[in-house]
Structures are given as structure tokens and as C-alpha cells.
Amino acid sequence: MRHLSEKNQKNIMLSVAFWRQWLVFAGVFLALAAPVRAELVIEITRGAVKPIPIAIVPFGWSGTGNAPGDAASVIRSDLYGSGRFDPLDNDVMLERPVRGVDIDFDNWRFVAVDYVLVGRLEEVGDELALTYQLFDVYGARQVVADSLVLEPRDLRLASHRVADAVFEAITGVKGVFSTRVAYISVSGRPPERTYRLIVADADGNNEFVLLESAQPIMSPAWSPDGRQLAYVSFESGRAAVYVQTLRTGSRRAVSDRPGVNNAPAWSPDGRQLALTLSDAEGNLDVHVLTLLGNRLVRLTERRSIDTEPTWSADGRHVYFTSDRGGAPQVYRIAANGSEDAPERVTFEGNYNARPRVSPDGRYLAVVHDDRGRFRVAVQDLETGALQVLSDGSLDESPAFAPNSAQLIYATRREGRGVLETVSTDGLISGRVKSVGNDVREPVWSPYAR
């Protein structure tokens, strides 16, 4: 496991610097244009059968005035929201140590927790040091510890990173609490509709409006380095694909041809976009656009609807939806255009569409027609076995978390678009609580680099 190391500290400080700039940008924009809705949280609708009992002891504070934030409470809410942990209530703690040496493990065995996390926040000049230690209660052994240095405004992000480290140390799966989610939000009724492209923390906090338009915005896609988003906007009166850099806000139209310019998907190396274009007869085909040099290769040619491309994890194939067989199914074709005939990939049921490959390459998420209900399903790419994960009737747009262990998708509840999460094994599900607007098309960011 990771212990305090110089390399780790440097990495975290570097990414904190990136975030700091990003947040300055976010703050300016929000003040100008965006309604801020704070504290959207993930509510677990079905948790693990045996969530892991853990104590997150309130962190100590040494500095002037009050502590600038409550790191322990952010960590607690992250771990609880994952559905895999059962954090102990603060008021049944028999002691509140802030250092490992002060822990009396019998006090924690008595309240039956497997792990205890202690930590402290210290003022160091203009900066803060956030130090944490995770202990295995029964083995009386330190599992992971680190000390992060950060500017006060990054305390929340740093707290998410602690939650990531704790999650990984205990479950063996990388945490995704410090990642972000992009999605589309729609408000108003015609002709006064407003479409927004929003980026928020994975727990729904820090909503930031990237683009606002009276015309539809759809199909956001993160670049593999997490610095850009590709999306479709109808702002010119027809569809065009744009790429926008988050930190600067600058953007450009990368595909604005006559007809359909839709469904952008980044290649794993970030150099190409798979996308859907139409010809003069309105026939939709999947193409691959090399961004540098603007070179275009057409992958499919059929009078069918061929769309919703997504890349295999190794970047050699493109999966897409096609109704060439009558009803929509998922097919796979070589990404370099060397194959004439794609291979059909989905066979269960008469409707499987909108494929997404998990970052580890093991699973294909699709929208599956489950006896008249559209639901999120994952197909094991090795065995071909399909498992339905969601239980709504209009579930759509599944997107994997960067750890491949979880998906976020959109559904409708009480006539409104909402976002839900489900673990890839289908055991844990949750709902991202949101206020008011219709939300849809969530996409999980990659890990910050």
C-alpha cells in the first residue's frame, strides 16, 4: 500500500495546481452565467449486502480560527455513497483520536468496525496539510497513510482523494470520488428551452456550466486526458461537433458538414474522433476523423442507420449501433477502415444500442430492450453473457466510471430526467439527487492526470 512518499506528494500537488486553475475559471463563469445548486448527493437505493463497517473520526485542526472545512464528513459521505461502506455515527465513538499513536483499538473492536480512519488538518503558512492514517482494527496495523499539501480552496478535492485512497486500500478497486461527471441539463418548455452542458464533481457538487444554448446540446464525450469535451450542438441551426477545452473555455467546430454531424467518441490515444456523418441521401455512417490534419475515413457504408460509435480499449476496433439486420444491434469493425464487413456483437433480444466499452476492456454496456422496457445491460465481451443492471423503463446513456466498477446512466422518474448509478456487477445502485431540471447523458471523466 502507499505510504507517505515524496513522489506521491508531488503528484498530488501538481494535480491540485491544475484543479486550482480550473476552479478559478469555474468560479468566474458561475458568477456570470450559472445558477449554482449546491450539495447534490448520491443516495444509495440498494447497497452491498454486507457493507464494510468503518469509523471516520472527525479530523483535528491546528491553525487560526475555525477549520476551513470538514474533511472527515466529505470522506464519510463519499464512502457511504459508494454503497460499500457503513460509516459509524460520530456520537457512538468512544474516543476521537487524530493520530495513530493515540488509538486504543479495543475501543473500535467494541463498536465492531473493521477500519478506523484518523487525520488532521494543519495550517502551514498559506497552505494546509491534510494528514490521514487508515488502520485495520483487528490487526492493529496501519493500512495506508499520506500527508497532502494544498491551498485551502482545494480542501474538498483533497478530501475526495483521501476517500479514493481509503476505498482502494480496502476494496482493491481504485476510487472515483475525485473524478467528475459531465451531463446535459434542460429547462423550460418550447419555445423557451435552455440546454446546458454541465461538469460537476462525481458527488454532484461544484456544478459548472460549460455551454448554454437555446438549441439542443447532446452527446458529450471526455477526451482521454480529461482536459477537453467533444459534444454536438445545434446552435447554428443544424448539428455540428465541437471540441472545448475545459480550462480555457476555448472551442472549435471539428465537424460541421452538411447533414448529420453527431455521436463523437475519442480514441484511447486522444488523436481521433469516431463520429457519425450523413451523405446526401441522409444515410448515416460511422467515420473516424484524425484531428491533426482533419483526415476522414469512412468505416461503414450501408443504407442502415450506423451510429453511436465507441472504441475498444486497445483502440483497434470501433463498436457501433446498426439496424442493418432489421432492429438495432451492436457491431464491431476495424478502426482503420481495413474491414468491409463488421462483426455482430450483441445477440440477446431484438434491441441493443448505444454501446460503451469499459476502460478495462472487459464489458460492453448497452441499452437493452427488456420486454418493452429500455434498460442498461452489460455484456461480458469474453463470454458474451448479458446482464440487465437497471430496473426502469426508459434507462439510457450508460457510461462507465474510470475504474470500470460502476456505471452512471440517465432515466426518468416522475416525468423528469435523473441520473442513477449501478455497480458493474449489478449489486449496488444509487441515485444522484438533483433539483428541478431535466438531466441526461451523463459521462464520467477519466482520472485526472
Binding site: A33, P191, A239, V260, D323, Y351, A353, F374
Partner: protein
């Protein structure tokens, strides 16, 4: 650095806020088509009353044609893009209007109901718009007069999730400009 950042942000904000011409869904249009009444209906009424100069030159009931062409929405079956036979007269009227006035431009906006994935529905909307376009071209409209756009399920007119909402959303809107 910060100043430039703010400017960029402002620029983005303005681009974002000001984008897209605000249009009503069904814009009013000037009927500039020129009807030529009776051109194929001339008939002489000369039977029995030889001394009268009065004769019929016929008059086409253009109110019917205009009403038909005023209908600007064509509805479709679920997951289908075939234009139903009931729209034959309507499309013939629009084709006549277009072929009779080469300056007229028509935009066909294809839409889908919310079932199925969003990008697939873009394909479906495009297919519907193209089906209407082909029928207009066959009947005399010229390709340069007609443009298509597909909004898929992104711009519904009915917001529920019942079959009757879906029927209203599976459509092609004809918009003269």
C-alpha cells in the same frame, strides 16, 4: 493571465448565451406561390344558348389546396420512416408550391419519440426527413430548395411518456423560410 482567462470566459458565455436564432417552431410564411386558376379546366358551355357570350373558364378550388399545404407536420409510426398514404395530397400540394416558386426554401426537421437511444433517434429523424424530401423531389421540387435537419428526440412537443405523447413527437416539421 487572469484577465485573458476572464475574457475567454466572457466570450464563451456570450457565444453560449447568444447562440441560435430564436425561432417559433412553426414560423409563419408568406404564401408567394402563384396560382394559375383554371389552366387545365377550361371548358366551353356552349350548348343551346348560342347568343350568349358568357362562358366558363373554370375555377380551381384553391382554398382546399392552400389548407392542405398549410398543414406543416407529418406524423410517423414507431421506429418507421415511411410516409403514410394519407399525406399524399398534402405533400403533392407542398411540391406544387415549391415547383411553382423556385425562390421558396423549405427546411424539413425530423423528430423521434423518446424511446430508443438518442443518437439512433437522430438517425431515425434524418431518415424521416429524407423520406419526405424524396417525395417532394419526385413531385417536382428541386433539391436546392430543401434542406433537412434531424433533432432526434431532443425537441419534443409533447412531454409525457404515453403513446399519445409519442405520436405527437414522431414527426417531420415543414418550415418555409
Amino acid at each position: 493571465m487572469n484577465k485573458r482567462l476572464i475574457l475567454t470566459v466572457l466570450a464563451t458565455a456570450f457565444v453560449a448565451a447568444g447562440c441560435g436564432p430564436k425561432r417559433a417552431t412553426l414560423p409563419e410564411y408568406e404564401d408567394t406561390s402563384t396560382e394559375v386558376p383554371g389552366s387545365d379546366n377550361d371548358s366551353s358551355s356552349g350548348s343551346g344558348v348560342a347568343d350568349s357570350s358568357i362562358r366558363s373558364r373554370g375555377f380551381e378550388d384553391d382554398s382546399v389546396a392552400t389548407d392542405t399545404a398549410d398543414a406543416l407536420i407529418i406524423y410517423f409510426e414507431y421506429d418507421r420512416a415511411e410516409v403514410r398514404p394519407e399525406y399524399a395530397d398534402l405533400l403533392a400540394a407542398h411540391a406544387r408550391r415549391l415547383s411553382g416558386n423556385s425562390g421558396l426554401r423549405l427546411r424539413l426537421e425530423g423528430h423521434a419519440d423518446e424511446r430508443g437511444s438518442r443518437e439512433y433517434n437522430i438517425g431515425l429523424g434524418e431518415r424521416r426527413a429524407q423520406a419526405v424530401r424524396r417525395l417532394l423531389l419526385i413531385q417536382g421540387a428541386s433539391a436546392g430548395q430543401i434542406s433537412t435537419v434531424s433533432y432526434g428526440e431532443e425537441r419534443p412537443v409533447a412531454f409525457g411518456s404515453t403513446e399519445s405523447d409519442y405520436e405527437k413527437n414522431r414527426r417531420v416539421e415543414l418550415s418555409y423560410r
